[in-house]
């Protein structure tokens, strides 16, 4: 124990000495995370020759920092201009963007930064301390259990639909139908691809994401002068909003803690990712809130939940990579290649043979989050000015940026047209009162639900009772029912209480 503590302290000091790598990488990460379509993964791929030429320490610190900063960077355009650059940030604009429209962009950014940094830092420490336990999560969370986790996220459609059930459910089912486009995951039979080869792997997420949210938003805001509502009070730039945002986030510290733990637990499951975690955290946050009706209107807790959760995923994905040798996502897979290049062995023996590398990666993450809070927070004051840029300039820029973003992941012109098509769909949905977020949840989580569902059925040779075949799965089913029923019960109780004094 004493030896490990000494080693951790030594690795911590060692990591701090790499500040000259960490700080520039934070800014690089913020930029690539903020540009739709770019991500830590494709930036690391582009810079791979450079990463391989670096020493192992420098290379890993660079990659880990870029990973964390890009995750946080994706939240910035999601809040300010309704462009979630990655699927992991798709739940961020649900409450972040309404805040920006109310003239609270600076405050929203501060809340997002503090939640991300605290969530990321906390889960990194937890991952470090509980690594052997967390590594076991993947041994219990198989396809049956993951179906229930997906349903937690998908049930958000029903919450969103609460205001107008018919329209909400239509939007949700439309999203699920769009999500089922592509080849099926078992026999690769193409469905509803309309002959487009580009749709064989399903509807690409980034074009759908930026189209539904950003392009449609650009169409909407062009009808106004600026993003900020005319009813919002005009403000002089000051640090006050930043401090207020920090204060709001810190006063909800417990909210940050439990939603980031949701992210951590989902992050350690190989194959699960930030998009699942952020929707599940948002749904849980809303389900157990005293004020669920405020969600979607610019409620700070609706912003804290997805941001803490998606940064919790970041530390979670390192666990299966380091302990089991299984990369949880694309960025982790590239880290694996770089580590292999330097001759580092993986799996259970990593902490035996190269403990400095294993602990060093977690430490790099912790130090990055620590330094990030001080480097990013001051920027919130300047970044929030985006919302006051006249839409006559902003809307074309949003469309141009998002179309480039749609093009980048696969470099297909088709994806740009698709983003525009989703933009038109999103615009029509907004103008007719259908919630685009409900469509998007279906598009993002539908294919994942289908994957786990078909896999479970294939494993059981088509026996539907497989869904209730595991103890943990059954516990999760009960938890799902409770989390769906409790809010209704709470709501009924609140209404009854309100009615009593009236009598």
């Amino acid at each position: 124990m004493g030896d490990t503590a000494y080693l951790l302290f030594d690795v911590f000091l060692d990591t701090i000495s790499f500040w000259w790598v960490i700080i520039p990488t934070i800014f690089l990460g913020l930029i690539v995370g903020g540009i739709p379509g770019f991500s830590a993964a494709n930036t690391i791929i582009i810079l791979m020759p450079l990463t391989l030429a670096m020493g192992l320490d420098t290379g890993l610190i660079f990659m880990v920092t870029l990973y964390c900063a890009a995750r946080m960077g994706a939240g910035i355009p999601a809040i300010l201009v309704n462009i979630p650059g990655t699927a992991g940030a798709a739940a961020t604009p649900l409450d972040g963007y309404p805040m920006a429209r109310q003239g609270k962009g600076q405050q929203a950014l501060a809340i997002s930064f503090v939640s991300s940094c605290i969530g990321g830092l906390l889960t990194t420490i937890m991952a470090l301390a509980l690594m052997p336990v967390l590594a076991r999560v993947g041994f219990y969370m198989h396809s049956v259990e993951m179906i229930v986790v997906m349903l937690f996220g998908i049930s958000l459609i029903a919450s969103i639909a609460a205001q107008d059930m018919v329209k909400g459910l239509i939007a949700g089912f439309l999203g699920l139908m769009i999500g089922s486009i592509g080849t099926d995951v078992v026999y690769a039979t193409p469905r509803a691809t309309f002959g487009f080869l580009e749709l064989y792997d399903g509807v690409p997420l980034i074009p759908a994401l930026v189209g539904l949210f950003a392009v449609s938003e650009a169409f909407v805001i062009i009808e106004k002068t600026v993003i900020v509502n005319e009813s919002a009070e005009p403000k002089k730039p000051s640090w006050h909003d930043t401090f207020e945002g920090v204060n709001i986030a810190l006063s909800r510290w417990w909210h940050i803690v439990w939603t980031s733990i949701i992210g951590l637990v989902i992050g350690v499951i190989p194959g699960a990712g930030a998009s699942i975690a952020s929707f599940v955290a948002y749904q849980q946050s809303r389900a157990f809130s005293d004020t669920p009706e405020k969600y979607g209107t610019g409620h700070p807790e609706g912003l804290i939940a997805p941001e803490s959760a998606n940064n919790g995923v970041t530390s979670g994905t390192l666990v299966p990579l380091l302990v089991l040798g299984i990369p949880g996502g694309a960025t982790a897979a590239i880290m694996l290649v770089v580590m292999q290049y330097h001759g580092v062995s993986f799996g259970p023996s990593l902490f035996e043979h190269s403990p400095r590398v294993g602990y060093g990666m977690f430490m790099a993450m912790a130090v990055s989050y620590l330094l990030m809070i001080f480097t990013i927070l001051p920027l919130s004051r300047y970044m929030s000015h985006v919302t006051t840029v006249p839409t006559i300039y902003l809307a074309p820029m949003i469309i141009a940026f998002t179309l480039v973003g749609a093009f980048v992941p696969r470099e297909y012109m088709f994806d740009m047209y698709l983003a525009l098509a989703f933009g038109v769909l999103g615009y029509i949905a907004r103008r007719t009162g259908y919630h685009v977020a409900a469509i998007l949840i279906g598009v993002i989580l539908g294919p994942l639900l289908e994957t786990y569902f078909l896999r479970s059925l294939k494993k059981s040779d088509g026996d539907i009772m497989v869904l209730f075949s595991s103890t943990l799965g059954n516990i999760l089913w009960v938890a799902l029912i409770v989390s769906l029923v409790l809010p209704i019960w709470f709501d009924m109780r609140r209404k009854r209480r309100r009615e009593v004094p009236a009598e």
Binding site: F139, Y187, Q340, Y341, F346, R410, T451, R455, K458, K459
Partner: protein
């Protein structure tokens, strides 16, 4: 469906190549290549094929005297890249495709592409990575005997990266030999397939061995669907043919460069430059260094010409057709 190579056309191309070979190298170099060679990679940037491509072309470009420009067209298990190559790239020897012969050719057996399969052919194989059967380090099944015994009691689940994959054919052939029915579960890619075996989502998995070696001691290899060229790195697992007295062709992930047949026929001189410099590349010690630097297993670096590739392609198509009902659910 026409699948075998047209030998007469090949002989014609060969004769023309002989004439070209007789001309001085300097003359050849002056005429081809005059610009960069475009290469379509039907998988994502940064993946195994990309790394392999970068390693090989870093040496090949010196022999050929030009740069290679990759274009990535992932999707539909490689189908998108091939469709783009056959549909949009000019057949002029300046356009090549670099793919994985095993799984990508199996695709055609499951569902024919929009072009005639015979309209392209592989002319240069870079490596051969045999598929293998492995279990998670904590699996209760730790030997082939355990697997055979357990499968008498229940239908075992087997993780595979996708149904139409040489590794899937390997396990189906073994099942046929032993009279065992296995339940193949596609786990969407190498990472998922390894995770499935390690975490117990499936009883065991089958995959190309390069990925299994990379998983380190989280997994244990029990059988190789081909020759075990790396010994201990694959836990000294035996060759399926030796262990079960079978005659199964090696089930490989084999990355290779392919070209339009029309390009080779219309420009035999250019084709000859490509094939001769491709072969020369294997004689350069720098290749092994570059291949290992990109995480390649040195034992798998393995030259193959058009004939070896054609033979492998035909075997894949034949096995694909044979196991199609099991692999496609048809």
């Amino acid at each position: 469906m026409k699948t075998s190579l047209n030998r007469r056309r090949f002989l014609q191309a060969g004769a023309a190549s002989g004439l070209v070979l007789a001309t001085p190298g300097i003359v050849r170099a002056a005429t081809f290549p005059e610009r960069n060679i475009n290469v379509i990679i039907p998988t994502a940037e940064g993946g195994g094929a990309d790394r392999n491509f970068r390693a090989f072309t870093s040496v090949w470009k010196e022999k050929l005297g030009t740069e290679f420009e990759p274009g990535y067209y992932p999707g539909a298990s490689g189908r998108v890249g091939y469709e783009v190559y056959m549909g949009k790239s000019e057949p002029d020897c300046y356009n090549l495709i670099f793919g994985n012969m095993g799984p990508e050719v199996l695709n055609w057996a499951m569902q024919e592409p929009s072009f005639a399969i015979d309209d392209y052919f592989y002319f240069g194989r870079v490596d051969t990575d045999p598929c293998c059967l492995f279990v998670g380090a904590e699996s209760p099944l730790q030997s082939m005997e355990d697997i055979v015994n357990a499968s008498k009691e229940r239908k075992l689940t087997v993780g595979t990266s996708r149904m139409a994959h040489p590794a899937s054919i390997g396990i189906l052939a073994l099942g046929e030999k032993l009279g065992i029915e296995f339940n193949l579960i596609p786990l969407q890619g190498g990472k998922g397939t390894i995770a499935g075996a390690v975490t117990g989502e499936v009883d065991f998995s089958v995959l190309t061995s390069g990925s299994v070696i990379a998983a380190g001691d989280s997994v244990k290899t029990l059988l190789v669907f081909g020759k075990n060229r790396v010994g201990e790195a694959l836990d000294n697992a035996p060759d399926i043919n030796d262990a079960y007295d079978m005659t199964l062709p090696e089930m490989l992930s084999a990355r290779a460069f392919a070209i339009h047949r029309k390009a080779a026929e219309d420009h035999p001189d250019r084709y000859e430059v490509l094939t001769s410099t491709f072969k020369e590349t294997f004689e350069d010690p720098a290749l092994l260094k570059a291949y290992v630097a990109e995480s390649g297993t040195p034992e798998y670096l393995n030259y193959g010409g058009a004939e070896e590739c054609a033979e492998f392609m035909a075997a894949m198509l034949e096995l694909g057709a044979r196991y199609k009902p099991l692999l496609s659910g048809a």
